[in-house]
Structures are given as C-alpha cells and as structure tokens.
Symmetry: C2
Subunit: 415 residues, 2 copies
Amino acid sequence: MAELKGAAIFGQSGGPTSVINSSAAGVFIEALSQGNITAVYGAANGIKGMLEEDFYDIGKEDMHELELMKTTPSSLLGSVRYKLKDADVDDTDYKRLLEVFKKYDIRYFFYNGGNDSMDTCNKVSKYMQKVGYDCRVIGVPKTIDNDLYGTDHCPGYASAAKYIATSIMEVYLDARVYDTPMVCIFEIMGRNAGWLTAASALASYKGYGPDLIYLPEKTFSMDKFLADVKRKYEENNGKVIVAVSEGCHTEDGKYIPELGANLATDSFGHAQLGGAASILANAVKNAGICSKVRGIELSLLQRCATHCGSKTDMEESFNAGREAVKAACSGMTDMMVGFKRADKDEYECEYVLLPLSSVANTEKKVPDEWITNDGTFVSEEFVKYALPLIQGETPIAREDGLPRFSRLAKVSAKK
Amino acid sequence: MAELKGAAIFGQSGGPTSVINSSAAGVFIEALSQGNITAVYGAANGIKGMLEEDFYDIGKEDMHELELMKTTPSSLLGSVRYKLKDADVDDTDYKRLLEVFKKYDIRYFFYNGGNDSMDTCNKVSKYMQKVGYDCRVIGVPKTIDNDLYGTDHCPGYASAAKYIATSIMEVYLDARVYDTPMVCIFEIMGRNAGWLTAASALASYKGYGPDLIYLPEKTFSMDKFLADVKRKYEENNGKVIVAVSEGCHTEDGKYIPELGANLATDSFGHAQLGGAASILANAVKNAGICSKVRGIELSLLQRCATHCGSKTDMEESFNAGREAVKAACSGMTDMMVGFKRADKDEYECEYVLLPLSSVANTEKKVPDEWITNDGTFVSEEFVKYALPLIQGETPIAREDGLPRFSRLAKVSAKK
C-alpha cells in the first residue's frame, strides 16, 4: 500500500496566520525528500489555482527561501475562500480537479486551512475514492481562532495569542502613566470562539492585563457591560482594561457594531458606527463612566505579527506539514494532522491523525467551565492550557533591521 | 565649579515611549556612581511629584531592576502634562519647588520629555538662577514624534519607527493573500510633524510598504486623496496601502475626523465618525473605488512596542541619560542632551549639549525637499536618514514567554 508514486500538490486556504507558511515549508521540504513523490507543486490561491492549473514547481525553489518561509507571515502562495459544492449536486469542479490531477499525475493532496478547508479536503477525498482515482488526501490544520475539533490546539493560534498578550501588557503600562482615569478597550478576532480573546488573560496572569474579558461563548449585554466597567472603574481608581471579542453578540444575535446606532450619537445627533471597540468606547463615554476611553482594534496586526510569534507554534506548524507528508507516504489518507498534549507535567506535543469527516465543519469553543466571574474572565485552567503554547520567540531573519521575508521564485508548473 | 555636592532628581514628562525608561536607567545608574551626588530621587508623575514631595529613593532600588528599565516601555515613574506658568506672572510653583529643593538639598535637576518638558526645564533653570539657588538643570530628550529642534533625532522615535515599518510589512503580505482588490489605510501618530508616518516608507524601501504616504507637513485634500487612491488602485491591480498621519488637515485647518460628517453615511443615512483611518476607509468605499477597505489605527501600540524596539534607540536613550548626569557633574547647566550624526559613512551618534532656550517650544518638521510625488511619498534621503536608527533588536527580558518588565520598589523618599 505504501508504494504510490506520483506528484504532490499543496494549497493554502482561508485567512492567513503568522505560521501558515511554516506548515508549507514543512510540507515542501519533507515532500522534496520523499522518493515516491515525483514532483512538488504549490497551488496559487488554494483550490482555485488547482482548478485553473495555476501552480508552482517547488523543486525549482531555493532551499534557503523555503527555510525562510518558516518565519514569513501570511499565505505566500495566495489563499482563497471557495466552498466546493456537494459532488452530488454539481460535480463540475471535481471533474476538473480529476482532469488536472491526471494530467500532472497528482497522487498526494495536502490542504492547509480551518474548518471550511477540511471540508474541501474531505469532499475531494470522497470524490477521488468514488471515481477510483488513487490519491492520498491529508489536511494540515491552521487557524488563529483555535476552533478546530479534535486537536488540542491549532497552528497559528499561539503566535497570535503571544502577540495579543505582549501588546496588551505594553499598553497596560502606557495606559497607566498619568494619574488620571482611563479606560482601554481591545477588540480581538474570533467570530464564534473566544480562544484569542481569552489569550489576553495571559497578560493579566503576569499582572499587566485586562480586568474584564468578554468571549462570544457568552451572550453580551450592553447594560451588564457598562455596569461591569463602572464597578471595575471604582475598584481600580479609574483604570480599566477590557478585552472583547469581535464575535460578541446579544441574546437576539446582534453584534456589537449593530448596537451602535441606538447607543452613541455625536454632537450632531448622528449615530456613530464602527468596530466593536469604538462602539464600546463611545458607550462608556456616553454613560458618563469615564471621559478618556481608547478603543484599540488589533485588526490584521494580530494574525500576521510573526515578529512576536511563538517559536513553539512555528516549530509545531512546520512539523504538522512534515507529518502530513509522512502520513501520506506511509499510506494514510482522509486524515487531518492533529496535536495531542502528552500526558505528563512538562508540555510536549504529539502528532496524531484525525478522520477528516470528524473535523470538517465542527467548531471547538472555549469550555464553559473555563469562563468565570459571571462571564467576564477566564480561569487558571485556561492559562495552564495556553501558556506552554506561546513559549520561545520566532527567530525571524532580518535585513537592514527589518524582516527578511521569503522570496519564492514561483516558477509556473504549467504543462 | 565642578564641585557641587547635593541630591539629584529626575522626572518623566509627556507621552510615554518604548525607551523613556532606558533614559531613566541611564540617569539613575550614572547618578548613583557619581561621588558628588548624595542621593538620587525619581519623581512620581514628573514636576507634579516634585511639587508634592512625592518621589522615590532610587538608591533603594535593586540594580537588576534598574537594568530592566532599559527594556520596559512607558513611563515607570508616571508622567504628567503640566505647563509651568511664567514665573513673572505666577511664581507659586517655583517657590514651592525651591522649598522642596532646599529641603532635600537637590542640586541636580534632570527632566525627560519633549518640547513642553524642555520649556519646563528652561523655566526652572532660569528661576533658580534668578534666586541664586545653585542647581544644575539638564534636559533629556524624548518623543516618538522626533520633532525636537537641534538634535539629529530623538530617543523614542526609532523604536516606534521600527515597529511601524515592521507591522506594515507584515500586513502588506496579509493584505495580498486573496486575488481580490483590497485597500488598507494605516493611521499613524504625529500631530504636527510627519516623521513617524514617513517611517512607513522604510517598509516600502524593502518592497512591502505603502503606495501613498500623507504627512501633516502638506495640506490634505479629500478629493486629491481619493484621486490618488483611485490611480494607485488601477496601477496596482486593486491593491493599495496608504499611510496617513493623524495630524493631516485641510487648508482650512480641519483634521480628517472632522471631514467625516460630510462624507460618509451608513445605511441609515447617519454620519460615521471615528479616527482618520476609518473616515478615509469609508470615503474610499463611498466613492466606489473599492468595497474591501481596512482602516488600521496603530494607536497606543506604536509608542510602547518595546518588543519590536530598536537596540540603537535603546542604547542611545540610555546614553542620553548618562550624558546628562556627566554634563551636570562637570559643571554644565541649562542644556539639553542632543544627538549629532558623525560626519562619516558609517552611522555614529555623538552626544552634544544644546542650550535649553533654543530647544524649548520649537518644532522640527520633515524637510520639504524630502516630501515627494506631489505630497504622497518621501525621498530616499529620508530612508538614508532613518534606516541607521532602527538597527538592532531591543533584547527584552522574558519570563514565561512574555516580557519581564522592571518592577521598581518605589520606596518613598519623603522626609
């Protein structure tokens, strides 16, 4: 079974992270070393590039540049958000994919992404099995949201978490320089799962973090929020730091920016719209709690800040890519590489394989028992969980004092 | 003249930076080693702490914690924005200061800040001279804005510049992952001088930076801005990155957020207010140039990101503190420590003394000849100027993978 000769293709999908290219490096470097893999292709913009025969010959890349991918943020091959239809409903894309796979003798399919991407993997795998085309399909996990089912954590999460905790610690000091009141509200990514917002608690654990943390796992109420801030304001002599997930929403499903129109008006009587942070900052001002309020949206910065990345994350992401190739070469298919925490005191990550069907489209949220203080903080269990993941600093390459990103030659593989 | 025995006091003033504590460490460590300095005090919240006898006995601090100040952002002693009245108009504060100085035998006054703080220094110095109280006054420069007159550059600038350039390089890659159009607008600090916004050009110099850069030195026009973005959008296949200073304003003195009400309305017809980045993002959307526009405000992050600081900046800031003490001990007074770039190919910083009166309240702006392309970019001269300043990485101490900030004992010196 293990003997399957043919080419390998790899694609990046969904939102980028600080370490998605580290997984790509892992796949490429391992695949190039495998005797059964006859060619290694990198797809431009994920499944889209595969459908359009737009992919690169990774064998033509300089090994040094492939190594530099480990510390280059974002998706160097280009990403895509494209949901394959069910093959039963419309098999056009699948037929085209099969045609391309046959033309390039592609027998190994590696796909790097989150829930939706694992769905793509699963569908491709099922179709190839159905039509009897021998192709091994392995998913490589990736998401700053950390919401993939079945794995202890996801590549990309820890680097974003480290950046968030570090930045909040720094701003904590900044927000305390004057002996006058100030409220600071951080808006953090994560539409449905609060893992990233919870990472702000690592800053609190060090003594320089938020007083209040709001995750999307709990229903958001503006009245309760304002009461919470007011209470902390009084307790802390006018200094309050808040971390709030962009995914927080009210009982009737309204996200915070949607609450703006009813709450905050400017001096002309116009409603103020914006991100969650600025809406909440205005609400705190308008409620008369504090006049100096800063809303800080960590925006795209948090998902590509390799300069403050976790070395543990970078290495695990690289290994996840390698493990995917090794698994495929040893005969496995229809799996995603997952992480299992070794059952011992010192942190150790074991690589396991999870059936794609169990991972696709399932979200893992922050456990209810880790959310404390009436939904305004997380427990020490969370800190114990997250702290080992952010250890070590990503050793980024520099030139002129600035990052030296990988520069791929991107030689077209088109036949 | 050099023999003046007495205590030294040091205060931090104005907005914090990544390296203001490094200058404090320089002052403290040097002062503790000087035989003529009998006690070293750190004032809580600058001049305010001096007036209120609220200061710390630095001799009681652990040397390791003083060393850690080099890599701890923000103003650890606390800062203040307090403008002394002219002594001719109201000398209450000066009399009180003299009283405190006499009580603690303070003969050395060091003050760390920007334009306003040098004004404070100058006024204190003049008053002490007038009343015949022998006290040496030396200013230590500090401002991320880099707008102090007479010095090649200012402590704090380069670290903020390095963070800005690095972050924009990372987001540049992030903003290019999908093969769909996207406009990204960065809002950068600097009310009257564009040095920090210009630093975004360092990212462009590496190939990953803004296409358009707007400094407050040039008048801002929304029509021209939209035309510029549209042109770049067409040239660059729908990918545009913009860096804009928070200080940009129109010919009639309106800042960008003030332009919002006339320009952007939401789906309810309400005006959208916010920071410059979100106002411009809405304007680009509303003008039909691009539907996917991100406004990113670097906010407080940019001035306290020691985790991405310049080692050159950290060292020069430390040395500026030491030089201030050495100068005072050698008999100098009424001066600010300044930086002079050595006249040679390789970058070298020389420490000079500048009369306080020439520095106070004068702003240094980006030279007109360095602003190019019809006010939308900066020249190579700027890059040559700024690049040496951001070299080296601040070696921050860590604990559990997160910054280990200095923890001062802050023992009260109150007699």
